[in-house]
Assembly symmetry: C2
Homo-oligomer: 224 residues x 2
DNA sequence: GTCTATAGTCGGATAGAC
DNA sequence: GTCTATCCGACTATAGAC
């Protein structure tokens, strides 16, 4: 005798939705405030559910049923808002890359290259900690994007890299930094912040404090 | 009218096997020398195929058909040598973790904490570059392991972390290092090397040279 | 130990009612 | 815009011949 599938799936979805609304579901940790521009609310719920699922289990291990369930919907409802699972990934990845670049551009301020570098590394690191679920999708799910979508985010990645490379170049020109391998050191500085997305969880400390620590470490790596 | 499936699949497998034997298949880059202890040869071909596939596409995106095909076999033959796809992942992950720890233990030598740290970071970084396919599986596929298998590799990961923490502690005690946040700095040093697995490809330079650069950067991060 | 064939399950995506 | 129901392909793993 088969279980009453309809009742079970409805109950599961209601439970999931309730937990979401009450905000106590530990797996649904993405702040909805970040995605306020995504309308309507159902599309936003799907997107935040996808971010959490992709970050937790990876893109390939995440099912559309899982995403829909986190948003309190049936699997079919997803396709009203997004044409495919990959498109959902792309929207997250594109937004995340742009957000990371914007964080860097806003942080590139200071009287000396050293001040600028500290500000950049601090902000970039804190962003990866604060938004570690989005960052995980940004940094570790590139291979799941379609070739066209990958090309689009790749241009943003180059801009991010250039932002760090420029301040190192300026610091070398001013004699403040001693860098023998510019591309290698650029990559190392970026790398330090990016890897935060791999291991960070909220119980591992305050994103701002981590940013300050990493700004210090990065500065020491390059100073003359 | 259906295509002749038998002939097609046999042809594909023969082609795959031929490329493997000739060693010109860019997707089959894992050196068989590393896995000489895996016997018989068929099991070793499956394992190296799995390493390459997992590193390239991720565990979840890799099919048993893909692995078998890289080894020049039918999907069913895989189960003669391994009871499941997850077991294949575990064998790779366990071996990789042990290899990484062994590299650190062998490298922990030198007259001063600074020499030891440089040696450790240099070797750990070079290993992640040299064996970037294995390293990618080790660092990015933990979530796909069964709880029991994950627990087993987690103990090795703690030993790896301790190896770095110890030399930092010794350097602080000797007054050679100025480290304010020991756990944070330990993680940062490890992080720098681990992230190499994410971006490294052979065209990005010599593993040994990268090791030297990173040893220098890590030393500068902590020196008094 | 390898094969062909397939069982049994699940996934992305669609159809059509409301 | 959401649902239920389902298609259809692909997946892991197994059965049984050789």
């Amino acid at each position: 005798m088969r279980p009453p599938r309809n009742l079970r799936s409805v109950a599961k979805r209601l439970l999931s939705f309730t937990r979401l609304v009450q905000g106590v579901n530990v797996s649904a940790v993405t702040s909805p405030l970040v995605w306020e521009h995504v309308q309507p609310a159902a599309a936003r719920r799907l997107l935040t559910g996808a971010v959490d699922a992709f970050a937790e289990r990876g893109y390939q291990a995440t099912t559309t049923r899982d995403i829909a369930s986190r948003a309190g919907m049936s699997p079919a409802a997803l396709y009203v808002h997004y044409p495919s699972k990959e498109r959902l990934l792309f929207e997250i990845s594109l937004y995340g890359h742009n957000a990371a670049l914007e964080v860097l551009r806003s942080a590139d301020a200071g009287d000396t290259p050293a001040d600028r570098l500290r500000s950049l590394v601090s902000a970039f690191t804190a962003w990866h900690a604060q938004h570690h679920t989005i960052a995980r999708v940004v940094q570790y799910e590139l291979a799941a994007l379609s070739p066209e979508h990958l090309a689009e985010v790749a241009t943003i990645r180059r801009a991010i890299s250039l932002q760090i490379e420029q301040v190192l170049t300026d610091g070398m020109a001013a004699g403040d930094f001693a860098v023998t391998d510019l591309p290698g050191t650029t990559l190392a500085v970026l790398s330090l912040s990016i890897d935060v997305a791999r291991w960070y969880t909220p119980h591992r400390g305050d994103p701002e404090a981590l940013g300050k620590l990493y700004a210090d470490l990065a500065h020491r790596m390059v100073q003359a």
